[in-house]
Symmetry: C2
Subunit: 304 residues, 2 copies
Amino acid sequence: MSLVIVGTVAFDAIETPFGKTDKIVGGAATFAGLSASYLYDNVKLVSVIGEDFGDNIDIIKAKGIHVEGIEVVKGGKSFFWSGKYHNDMNSRDTLVTELNVLADFDPKIPASYQDCEYLLLGNLTPQVQLHTLERLKEQPKLVVLDTMNFWMDVALEDLKKVLQKVDVLTINDEEARQLSGEYSLVKASEKILQMGPKYLIIKKGEHGALLFGEGQIFSAPALPLAEVFDPTGAGDTFAGGFMGYLAKVKSINFTNMKNAIIYGSAMASFCVEKFGTERLKDLTQEEISARIQQFVSLSKFDIA
Amino acid sequence: MSLVIVGTVAFDAIETPFGKTDKIVGGAATFAGLSASYLYDNVKLVSVIGEDFGDNIDIIKAKGIHVEGIEVVKGGKSFFWSGKYHNDMNSRDTLVTELNVLADFDPKIPASYQDCEYLLLGNLTPQVQLHTLERLKEQPKLVVLDTMNFWMDVALEDLKKVLQKVDVLTINDEEARQLSGEYSLVKASEKILQMGPKYLIIKKGEHGALLFGEGQIFSAPALPLAEVFDPTGAGDTFAGGFMGYLAKVKSINFTNMKNAIIYGSAMASFCVEKFGTERLKDLTQEEISARIQQFVSLSKFDIA
């Protein structure tokens, strides 16, 4: 049984108030895969890269992540994104987006991936997300979908089709408002849960995350940080940690979902401490456990 | 021993997407006093009103709150504020501010108030806050200060003086950033705690609140609400509930502060359900207990 993650494996160039990088390894599936690999040992990626990606794939392989589902396009160039964060780190300008090989991405599911029990559909065109689902012979136990406002603008009908086939949707608060047409996140969640997913996770960045489902609500804190060095990939790292935890504990219910969100938040809190995937390359289980305990003491109270 | 609250007792006229009021009873001390009265039975207000306030004072008296410290200016007009909330309820325009009797407010502390053990200095000029402290013969066990960006703009030096004499400061996230010159709330808290207070509470509205002190951080959730009817007074209601809880349990430490924040948040969640003080007039202890339990289930998780 395995956790399959579909998403971008790419190059990023990032500028923050703390510094500037050349092309470094990025992409939603990269961040999610690295994050999940600390919690679950059978993680498999589906993506497309160009020949220019070269040895960079070793960052992913080094964590024992399967890469047979990452197509390498001969002579092709990998997806490239470049952005500059503002001083508040909550907003950014995209400087460059080169789709390159991603423009014709048609996800290939190797036979060895057909044991997929947990599927994370990273932020891609809803069409690609649908194709992935169709190419799995058995419906996974849990399908989590990440998307963004862009697809609500340009491919809403396709997005609604894929929403009907997933168990969990993760979006941010503005996207939840856009998708539902409701300002109140409670009302927004009610409308979105009628579109298909059984659970909705609303990511609020420095304000934490909300989980809606089974008629319940859970509010997870974000760890207040003295410095956010680079927020790139934090949402994908969150999703990877969330999935990795659920794949590990195997049982899907609201209680485990809550813990999964805490694990996802903890992994994301590491991600932002350095540029790109740097901090996710060599975490120890001790560091992760200590971070989880910080979340416990951050949010625990005891009213008699 | 008593809980003394200094602040405005006033008239408001409010417009929200849900409707519009004529002049109704408002004011920081009114909201805080009503809120505290559900948790502690010896609440005393210090304020100033005009003769026009008339029988409206009965809303406060009805909850057993002491009003000897509310000066009535003969022929004077009470402070009046009118505002209109935008559709998102997070921003508002002030339509009218008439200081009236508040312009010359010089707080009178009746002899019967000298048993003050808990003091809430509501949002007023730092000068008035300082005068109140000077007029108490004994330093209270706990002094909580509420303030706002306006006083940071026009009376920063006075504000810094009063900050040296208080135990807890409550402000919102933008104000914490302004006061400290730091964007990160962790860094902001470090600077602000060097200005005098032992504890800092950062109010984040729909995103909850953060407590800093004793080298620890606590993140309290806000209750996600289907409808926010009128946010006026929510911050004051929070402060009143916070103080009322601490006055009741009598012991000041980080653990009790955390619970106090949950009580304050619960009281604030009632406040916004109706216009002005309407919802704070006749709450039951059962309603409050049930709301506290909602906060418990909202934020509780159990990682082995």
